[in-house]
């Protein structure tokens, strides 16, 4: 029995939402990947999933997949290349029937400019791009991109005008290792082993468990109590449900060896500037001064609940071979005293020796990092005015130009090229953490997308890092947080994703070993 932080939104539709409230469950129902997946033994590599193999043409404009012939939907229908085409077209183009319009997938922009999707034979699919797309597999292996759209059930409804049909409307018929047993909204989702699931492991056919019950527990305190009283085998994933150091201590004190903790990358804690709004922060030297002043190490106990490490760079969370893409030793690795003296000098040279006042858009869900920043910048004479907002206002304001600075906690696509959505120009990336209109950033990303060799990509990525963090300091990476989820010791075989809580949520390899 696992906790889930709430009912999955958007009718369980992974084309609509990246919410962890869905994806904690979606892996088991819809599978850990699509045609490809992040490998179980190494999530930085891409492995086959529903496609057994693939090829590409020399120009990287055509990708051809061979689909496995032993994959079945939960209702027994065979999965074919037509199903894969239906899903990809729905993701890329949406649907239009008369006046009814279905929006494409929220990740449409990441897939690249798909021109067409063709079925060559019943088990072969070709995806054609209008521009070169050498990193399509890396993008496609994003664990959020799941096939949850049975063509044989959804297409007739769409043709009748119900373009917004979602997986829940077709009883969550999926391709994953578990099938839906029952769903009491607001209370519990019960899934049971799918006997025709095709994946094998050393221990036999997957999945090992007979079933999982996901209990909706929106309150993290209630989750803690239920776990510690023995009603849960594992905690929920999601902000606020992840443990803080203090809560973890309570678990250890009360449960001792009966509990272990899955630790995974938890996103980043940054300070990003809106340089399109007038203020002292429009001066790169002022932004640089702030970057040098902040005591990044202090943020881990003070702002991140005791779990995290100081940011080496802008790096996306789960790039294929991380060490090559990280500037190490990190930027600004010198002594804090020296850096702070330099910061004061830079601020004085910029004409702000007495400091200034700056607004900071702060997400009400977690105000502690904002308080940390406020306290830090006070030492530099900067009055950080916190604008604490709820989720609704946060979602509006973060894509607007109404604020001076923000933290920016969106998850970018897990390859360097994908980070343009959060570091790019405002005109093309309104979701970007920092708001700037710097054509050079756009040019650097264009060159990165067009780079073919690994070394070229690494060089360009480092150039982007230096430009965004040091030369312009549009964004100040402060620290990476770690998400901690508790599990009972009798839960075995968990594939714990190091870098992304959305990965490996299928629980297919899990078994229980109760004494």
């Amino acid at each position: 029995m696992l906790a889930n932080r709430g009912d999955p939104p958007a009718g369980f539709d992974p084309l609509r939402t990246s919410s962890i409230a869905l994806h904690h469950i979606a892996g088991a129902l819809f599978g850990p990947g699509n045609l490809v997946m992040r490998c179980r033994e190494n999530m930085y590599a891409v492995c086959p999933y529903l496609a057994s193999s693939w090829t590409t043409n020399p120009g990287f404009t055509e990708w051809t997949f061979t689909i496995r012939d032993d994959v079945h939907w939960h209702d027994g229908t065979l999965f074919t290349a037509e199903d894969a085409r239906f899903w990809l077209e729905l993701a890329q183009f949406g649907a239009t029937v008369g006046d009814n319009v279905r929006a494409p997938a929220y990740f449409k922009g990441e897939l690249g400019d798909i021109e067409r999707v063709e079925v060559l034979e019943h088990d072969r699919l070709r995806v054609t791009f209008s521009h070169r797309n050498p990193h399509f597999l890396d993008v496609l292996a994003n664990p959020r991109f799941k096939i949850a759209h049975p063509r044989h059930l959804m297409q007739p409804q769409i043709k009748q005008g119900d373009v917004s049909v979602n997986p829940l409307d077709v009883d969550l018929v999926g391709l994953g290792p578990f099938t839906l047993d029952s769903y009491a909204r607001g209370s519990v989702i019960s899934i049971r082993r799918f006997d025709r699931y095709w994946e094998e492991a050393l221990g036999g056919m997957l999945p090992y468990l007979e079933g999982i019950d996901y209990v909706m527990i929106p309150d993290p305190f209630a989750m803690d109590v239920a776990f510690r009283s023995g009603r849960l085998d594992g905690g929920a994933r999601g902000q606020a449900h992840y443990l803080t150091a203090e809560r973890k201590e309570g678990y250890v004190r009360d449960l001792g060896d009966d509990v272990f903790f899955a630790e995974m990358e938890g996103g980043n804690f940054r300070l990003a500037f809106n340089v399109l709004k007038a203020g002292p922060w429009q001066d790169p030297n002022v932004r640089r001064a702030i970057a040098l002043w902040i005591d990044k190490r202090a943020s881990i106990p003070s702002a991140l609940g005791g779990f995290g490490w100081t940011s080496p760079d802008l790096g996306p969370p789960n790039i294929p071979i991380p060490r090559h893409f990280i500037n190490w030793p990190k930027f600004d690795a010198g002594e804090l005293q020296q850096k702070r003296a330099e910061a004061q000098q830079l601020l004085a040279d910029a004409g702000y020796a007495e400091g200034f006042s700056m607004g900071h858009l702060c997400r009400g869900l977690n105000t502690i990092p904002c308080e940390f920043l406020k306290a830090q910048l006070a030492g530099l004479g900067i009055n950080l005015r916190l604008q604490i907002v709820d989720e609704g206002e946060w979602n509006r304001a973060r894509v607007s130009l109404d604020y001076d600075s923000q933290e920016g906690r969106l998850t970018p696509s897990p390859i360097p090229e994908g980070t343009e959505s959060v570091y790019g120009r405002y005109s093309s990336s309104p979701d970007a953490y920092a708001k700037h209109d710097d054509a050079r950033v756009e040019d650097l990303y264009r060159r990165l997308r067009e780079a073919l060799t690994f070394n070229q990509r690494v060089e360009l990525w480092r150039e982007i890092d230096r430009y965004l963090i040091v030369e312009q300091t549009y964004v100040i990476p402060i620290a990476e947080s770690i998400n901690v989820v508790p599990y009972r010791t009798h839960v075995n075989g968990l594939v714990i994703p190091t870098e992304d809580a959305h990965t490996h949520t299928d629980f297919a390899t899990v078994w229980l070993d109760r004494a």
Binding site: A10, R102, Y106, D390, E391, E393
Partner: protein, 335 residues
């Protein structure tokens, strides 16, 4: 006898007219309330399309198409008209923008949970508070009265949230036990239902009954000073008869009024406790919808609460007559 019958019939007729009048008033009241709710929600900043997408960057073009798909780009009067029409054509608010669930079905599963929680609370509060109020009044300024006053002061002063957390923590530390985490209806698993509902009911009832105890006590004390009580006592009636026959009926009217007035407080308490105790009720649904800016759900649920509140107050007004037959109803002058 015939004259009395005619008088009773006239009174009954007057009451029916009064009820009809009050029911008719519900329509414009609800319409006005729903308009205000609609406008307030649209004034609040926020964008559900971004809530739906989650913590990821979304292609602006996709976001715009999604807004189109959800009907959020239509003008305000069209959106309001569409919602209003759905309230009367049987769709009951349409569908949730966030979950895509039909709001009628959402209410169908959430309302019973909230009604049970509030029903248990009201029942328990009445059962407890009337005797305690009378006891406190009878033993004024002596230890039973002081004890009751301290208990009610706690009920009024301590926030639900805090008490709920303490209760959960206390159960865990003392008994290594917590309430079941899956809600069961009383007709599917009564024992599990009892274990889940007992704690939020007790917490809500503490505050709710504290109001009732204090009002009952005050009213009873006032009645004790009335001439008819002195007369009853001087006739040699036993103390309990005086209290039950002469003090209680007069003390009940303000208490019943308080039951109606405090319904809003009760519902707001349920909003918090449903989240903490994992009850899939309307309160939790409303909180979730408000955070997500799920407009049709908020409008429908809030309107439903307005209707509930109006109906409860009407029922309370009707109860006056049951408690005190001297009460008469008039369309012109209220009751």
């Amino acid at each position: 006898m015939a004259g009395q019958g005619v008088e009773a019939a006239l009174k009954l007729n007057e009451m029916y007219r009064y009820i009809a009048w009050r029911l008719a008033l519900i329509v414009p009241t609800v319409l006005a309330a729903s308009t205000v709710i609609f406008l307030v929600m649209r004034v609040l900043p926020g964008d559900i399309t971004l809530v739906i997408s989650g913590d990821v960057a979304v292609n602006p073009e996709v976001r715009e198409t999604l807004r189109e798909e959800l009907g959020l780009n239509d003008s305000l009067h069209i959106q309001y008209g569409r919602w209003l029409w759905s309230m009367v054509n049987g769709e009951f608010g349409g569908r949730s923008l966030e979950s895509q669930e039909a709001i009628g079905s959402m209410i169908g599963r959430q309302l019973p949970v909230t009604l049970l929680l509030t029903g248990y609370t009201i029942l328990l509060s009445i059962v407890v508070s009337v005797p305690l109020g009378l006891l406190a009044a009878t033993w004024k300024d002596r230890w039973p009265d002081r004890l009751v006053r301290v208990a009610t002061l706690g009920g009024l002063a301590l926030p639900h949230l805090w008490i709920a957390l303490l209760v959960l923590l206390g159960l865990l530390l003392l008994f290594r036990w917590s309430p079941p985490i899956i809600y069961d209806a009383p007709w599917t698993d009564p024992w599990s239902h009892l274990q889940v509902m007992a704690w939020p009911t007790l917490i809500l009832a503490w505050e709710y009954s504290s109001h009732l105890v204090r009002v009952t006590r005050s009213s009873a004390l006032e009645s004790f000073n009335q001439a008819y009580v002195t007369t009853a006592r001087s006739k040699g009636l036993p103390g309990y008869v005086v209290v039950l026959r002469h003090v209680l009926p007069n003390a009940l009217i303000p208490s019943v009024t308080m039951v109606g007035l405090q319904i809003g407080m009760l519902i707001s308490g349920a909003l918090i406790l449903e989240t903490i105790f994992g009850l899939p009720g309307i309160g939790r649904g409303l909180v979730r919808a408000a955070i997500s800016r799920d407009y049709p759900v908020i409008q429908t649920l809030a309107t439903l609460l307005v209707v509930l509140s109006l109906v409860v107050n009407l029922v309370v007004d009707m109860l006056y007559r049951v408690i005190d037959p001297r009460v008469s109803y008039s369309v012109d002058a209220g009751h």
